[in-house]
């Protein structure tokens, strides 16, 4: 699959169909995002790690694609995406950060093992070009752990989990759909500077609520958490609620308006197909 992807990208670059290919590069045994502008560099191109391509840069609060589109307006850029990367692109596009029309989205599927490791329910992008679709693990089984708890048990569980928090902001910093310049997690009135661990559950409430209708379930926050707090448990519960109550699944369609960003009632949106 990798050879074909490299060939396809080299083709796009040499035929000048895109100005750059944004993907992952392996160098000295480590993988990181890289903006390929020359076809000969593509030997280093790789796929399939858990490095997201849509993470937001702090404190610039932009991602690489939006920075590119700002610096080189009108130029087309190819992006190599997994399912979660693509959903992330769509969610930030809905919030005015990037122009999806100027992107050549090249998708590749994750395999079953990768999907299981990420608890990813949709391990393939819609613009799937390389690889085979596999079924992701179900969220139901994953969230059963806290769904089956009583309210008091949940409280005890999360108190223990969040007491580990060192307020590194890793969950926020690694999030591909977090775009705010000023973050409520840093709001002193809500969660004051200097308190460690932060008061349960004030600090985390912000991130959970704010991403309720944009979380793409990529798991970047869990990966980034040095204290291994299972943040995605709550994210998946919320995503489920948003799907059931507001008839919305994040990352499906770049034209769709997020429910908490539109005036219409949830039912009205469903009827109008907004």
């Amino acid at each position: 699959m990798l050879t074909e992807i490299r060939k396809h990208c080299a083709d796009l670059l040499t035929r000048k169909q895109v100005a750059a290919v944004y993907g992952l590069r392996e160098r000295d045994g480590h993988t990181a995002p890289y903006l390929f502008t020359r076809a000969e560099d593509l030997d280093g191109l790789t796929v399939g790690t858990k490095v997201p391509v849509t993470f937001t840069l702090r404190p610039a609060k932009k991602n690489i694609i939006s920075a590119f589109q700002e610096k080189c307006p009108g130029q087309k850029i190819a992006v190599l995406v997994r399912g979660c990367d693509e959903r992330g692109l769509y969610e930030v596009a809905k919030r005015g950060q990037i122009q999806v029309a100027d992107l050549a989205i090249i998708g590749y599927a994750c395999d079953a093992d990768q999907a299981r490791a990420c608890h990813c329910p949709r391990p393939h992008p819609q613009n799937l070009k390389f690889g085979e679709k596999v079924q992701g693990p179900s969220n139901e089984a994953f969230i059963a752990k806290i769904v089956n708890m009583s309210v008091a048990e949940r409280e005890a569980f999360w108190r223990a989990q969040f007491s580990k928090c060192i307020k590194c902001y890793g969950c926020r910093n690694s999030c591909p759909v977090c775009i705010c310049k000023e973050c409520w997690m840093e709001n002193d009135a809500f969660s004051p500077t200097g308190w460690l661990p932060p008061d349960f559950p004030m600090f985390h409430f912000v991130h959970f609520y704010h991403l309720s209708d944009s979380c793409i379930e990529c798991g970047a926050c869990v990966d980034a958490c040095p204290m291994d707090i299972p943040l995605n448990l709550i994210r998946k519960v919320l995503s489920k609620k948003v799907q059931e109550e507001l008839f919305y699944t994040a990352g499906q369609d770049p034209e769709e308006k997020p429910p908490l960003a539109s005036r219409e009632e949830a039912k009205e949106r469903l009827e109008k197909g907004i």
Binding site: R154, F157, W158, F205, Y209, V237, L238, E245, R263, E264
Partner: protein, 145 residues
């Protein structure tokens, strides 16, 4: 659930919209309707301006229950302000529930300016429910500020 002391009086923070619920509460007052004194109202222009953080903050600072009162759907003074409320509050409650805070502590009610009676009834009911739930375990936080 820990046993509730008999003299437990829950404290309710009510975020009421200026045009319907606040006026409704007012009407309950001027109509001399009885309702428990457990409720403390914060007037906002629209229920659509209630940030979920306000609810969280109130619970954290010791409120045993939070009431959000808005105009009935379709009657919003600002046309669609309460549509947002209708979408936000269930999400907020779900999040609170998932975190281990009883979502019954947060209540969304549509109370029009003419529904003083309804306002009084809602408070009666809410107080009863909160008494059964007991004091808010979050109250005061780990280090209140």
């Amino acid at each position: 659930m820990s046993s509730t002391p008999d003299n437990f009086e829950p404290r309710i923070v009510a975020f009421l919209c200026n045009w319907c619920s606040y006026t409704g509460a007012d009407l309950a007052g001027i109509s001399r309707m009885n309702y428990p004194a457990n409720v403390r109202a914060i007037r906002l222009m629209c229920s659509g301006s209630v940030k979920p953080f306000f609810i969280m903050s109130a619970l954290h600072k010791g409120a045993d229950g939070v009431l959000i009162g808005g105009c009935h759907i379709g009657d919003c003074h600002y046309q669609t302000g309460n549509h947002l409320t209708k979408k936000r509050i269930p999400i907020t409650r779900e999040l609170l529930g998932a975190l281990g805070i009883d979502p019954r502590r947060v209540r969304l009610e549509w109370i029009s300016a003419a529904e003083g009676q309804e306002f009084a009834e809602v408070i009666h009911e809410f107080v009863k429910e909160l008494k059964a739930l007991g004091p808010n375990p979050l109250a005061g936080g780990d280090h209140a500020h």
